[in-house]
Symmetry: C2
Subunit: 210 residues, 2 copies
Amino acid sequence: MSAIDANIPAAAAPTGKAETILAAAQRTFLASGFGAASMDAIAREAGASKATVYAYFASKEELFGAVVARESERYAEGFSAGELDSADVEASLAIIANRFLRLLLSPDVIAINRIIVGEVTRFPALAEVFWQAGPERIRVQVEGFLRRAAETGALDIADFRLAAGQFASLVRGEIHQRTLFGLGTPDAATLSAAAGNAVATFLKAFGAKL
Amino acid sequence: MSAIDANIPAAAAPTGKAETILAAAQRTFLASGFGAASMDAIAREAGASKATVYAYFASKEELFGAVVARESERYAEGFSAGELDSADVEASLAIIANRFLRLLLSPDVIAINRIIVGEVTRFPALAEVFWQAGPERIRVQVEGFLRRAAETGALDIADFRLAAGQFASLVRGEIHQRTLFGLGTPDAATLSAAAGNAVATFLKAFGAKL
DNA sequence: GTCTATAATTGGATAGAC
DNA sequence: GTCTATCCAATTATAGAC
């Protein structure tokens, strides 16, 4: 695996019936959204009857919650910045930016992002689950790297928390919004360029002056 | 009106029945989302019968499209950067950042943003309408200001389009995502601080070195 | 636990009177 | 154009057999 792969862990193969149903629900919800996904479709996708689905999950809402919790957990699971070389800041930031962007733009993450934003009025608690499992964990990783890198003298940062957020914002940039809106899927070159531009601007702002 | 007000034009008071229905549909869709808003509720909100609603709009989808188009049009209508003083770059950027952030975080814009993201699979065309009317128009305004400001020698920018996008990303920052996810509403002080932080970092990256 | 069949409700859309 | 009343399809949820 290349260093800039998104490194999203594959979902565990479903073992019991509950897992099968959960996996089917996940595919259906992520593909259609909460409202457009029917329990009929989920049962069909799982190769089970609706009654069986209801034997494991009391309602559509509960099933949805279980899917979101499960998928959120996977979100940032494979995202780390701990092993990166804090001496070579530019290269390490480029790796982080590429990983982050590939994770953010991966179809599953885009899909769950869309659905949570769309249903936040009906399911406010799920957004919190997603936030803690995803964006927050990533920000912590980035902040940790920035602190280590600053110790080598390569970065000049006063507020690490703020800087980590700004780095993430620069990396997300326009391309994340555009993908969320379904306006084209960037190819690998576009994506690497976006990551590079974000790192370049971040270093112009926070790179230590010689 | 203070210089940093979001300056969102109020919707025109509804005149005919069609306008009344459109306005009612807007309130209902923005409050509940597409799926959860029923034609019954919209008719009730408009003080009309469902049959009347269908006399003006052939289907729920068409009505939704009309609402999104109308609301998108209002989005960036009141956002301008044309009158700002390109000599005082920092102050002008602060004004832009504050206007932009207040616009982005206003309840109506957040609501329509959520609903478009949530329904992008079902209504891909609406996202394009929204993008052109909103984010794109704002980026153009920002890019125009950066070009004028660069002529005074206060900014050192190679790619204006990119820089405008990065400025917008820095301003949006974490706070926009958090608000979209319904995780708290920032007060005025938080908001001004966020705008200030974005401008400061942008100028560290692109301010002309003395 | 799992299925088939069905109840109960909701919600999009329309017919027909005025 | 507007209303009341209604149709019909879809969907959530469950009863009852095995």
